[in-house]
Point group: C2
Chain length 246, copies 2
C-alpha cells in the first residue's frame, strides 16, 4: 500500500498550505489535512511536528508534508516534490525546473510581498503598531509592484505557442499557485485589482484566474466546506490599505 | 561534449548569484560568469537574457543559469538543479528535498529579510526615503528575528548523529548557503553578530561559518579577485542599523 499524503498546516485561513491543497484537489489525490481538526488540537499537532525526526532536520515553519519517511517543508519544495507525482509539473525534468521557477516567482511577488505589506516593520508586532508604515507600503506596492508583477505574468502567459496556461497547453501547478495568489490579492486589494482588471492590460492574467476557478475539481473544492476564508493570514483586508494606483 | 555551465548575474556585489558561485567553486566545476564582464556590458547582457527563449517562459529577475537548452531562474531552483550534478545534495532524492528546504529557509530568513530591512517600505524608493522605518525595522529584527533564526540553525546543526554539517557528516550546498547568509549578516550587522557570537548560544552556527570558509576550494575562491565586495546589494552596512539587541 502506498504511503498516504499528509498535509500539516494550521487551520483558520487558507495560508501557504492552500497551494498544496489545490494541487492535491486538482489531481483528485487522497490526503489527510490537519485543518480538519479543531483549532487547539491542530495547533498542538502542528507544533509537535516542528521537531526533527530520524533523517529529517528540524523545520522552521509549516506547511509540512509527510509522505512515508520523508517530512518535507517549504511550500515550493512540497509542490516540486508532489508536482511530478500528481502529473502537474509538465512533461520532463526541464519542465519541472521551469514550473518551480514560476511557482517561486509567484510566491515571492504576490504572496510574501503582500504579507509584508501589513507587517513592514516586524512580523512580531501587531498591524496596529505599524499601521502608518503599512499604509505607505501598500500605496507604493499598488503603484509600482503590482503592475510590475501583473505585467510579468501577462508576458509569461503570452509567450507560449498556443494555450492559456503558463506552459502553453500544459496545465501545471504553477497555474494553481498563480490563481491562489491572484485570488488572495483580490481579497486584500479589491479596488486596485478591479482597477487593474478594467485597464485591459492584464487580460490573460485575469482569464487564468477564471479558467482555474472553473476547472471541475477546483470548482468543487472551492464550493466545499474545506475551502477556508481569508482572515488573519497572508491576505488581509484593511480599508486603509485598499487604495487605487495613482 | 557536455554543455557548459553559464551563470548570468549582475557584476558589482556578491548578491544572490554568490550562492551559485560558491557551489560551483566548491565542486571545482568549470563555468562562465557574466560578472567577469565590465559593468555596462554585463547589465546589457543580463537584461537581454530576461526575455523568453524557445520552451522557456520569461524570467522575472537574475540570477539565471544556462545549461544546454534550459535557462533556469530563481536561486534555490538553480541550486537544486545543480546540487545533485555537483555531488552537493546528499545521498538520495529525499536528501535533495531536505537540502532544498534548508536552502529556502536560509534564503528567506537571512537574505530576503535582511534585504527588506533597508527597504521596508518599497524596493523602488531610496534607502534615504525610508531611513527611519529601516532603523525601526532593524532594531526589531535584531531583537526578535536574528535570535529566532540563529536558534533555529543551532538546533538544525545539533540534530545530527555526528558531524558538523546540516546533514550531519554529509556536506551539502545548504551549508554553503548558510555560510554566505551568515557572512552577509556579519557585514551588515557587525555589532549584533559579534554580540550573538559572544553569547555562546550559537557555537555550532559560528563554527559552520569558520569551517566552510576553511574548505580549500572555498578559501581559494574567497581569496581570489572573483570574490566581490558587499556594497549596495542585499547586505549593506548602515551605521544607524548596526545596533545591539536590547
Amino acid at each position: 500500500m502506498a504511503a498516504p499524503y499528509e498535509l500539516i498546516y494550521y487551520v483558520g485561513v487558507p495560508g501557504r498550505g492552500e497551494h498544496i491543497r489545490l494541487a492535491l484537489e486538482e489531481a483528485g489525490a487522497e490526503y489527510t489535512d490537519t485543518a480538519s481538526l479543531p483549532m487547539d488540537k491542530c495547533r498542538e499537532f502542528v507544533t509537535s511536528y516542528l521537531t526533527p525526526g530520524p533523517g529529517n532536520p528540524p523545520y522552521y515553519a509549516p506547511p509540512l508534508f509527510k509522505h512515508g519517511d520523508l517530512v518535507i517543508s517549504q511550500t515550493s519544495n512540497i509542490l516540486m516534490y508532489l508536482g511530478s507525482k500528481l502529473g502537474l509539473a509538465g512533461a520532463n525534468q526541464n519542465d519541472e525546473y521551469r514550473v518551480n521557477a514560476l511557482a517561486l516567482t509567484a510566491l515571492d511577488g504576490l504572496s510574501n510581498e503582500v504579507h509584508d505589506s501589513h507587517h513592514p516593520i516586524a512580523v512580531e508586532l501587531y498591524y496596529e503598531d505599524q499601521r502608518e508604515e503599512s499604509k505607505r507600503r501598500c500605496q507604493e506596492w499598488i503603484k509600482t509592484r503590482l503592475p510590475k508583477h501583473l505585467g510579468y505574468w501577462e508576458r509569461a502567459l503570452a509567450s507560449d505557442e498556443g494555450g492559456n496556461w503558463l506552459l502553453g497547453k500544459t496545465f501545471t501547478y504553477a497555474d494553481l499557485v498563480l490563481f491562489q495568489c491572484l485570488d488572495g490579492c483580490k481579497f486584500a486589494f479589491p479596488k486596485a485589482m478591479s482597477q487593474a482588471k478594467e485597464s485591459g492590460k492584464y487580460n490573460r492574467v485575469f482569464r487564468l484566474w477564471e479558467d482555474v476557478k472553473a476547472r471541475p475539481n477546483v470548482a468543487a473544492y472551492l464550493a466545499s466546506e474545506k475551502r477556508q476564508k481569508y482572515d488573519w493570514g497572508i491576505y488581509r483586508y484593511y480599508p486603509d490599505n485598499d487604495v487605487l494606483a495613482e
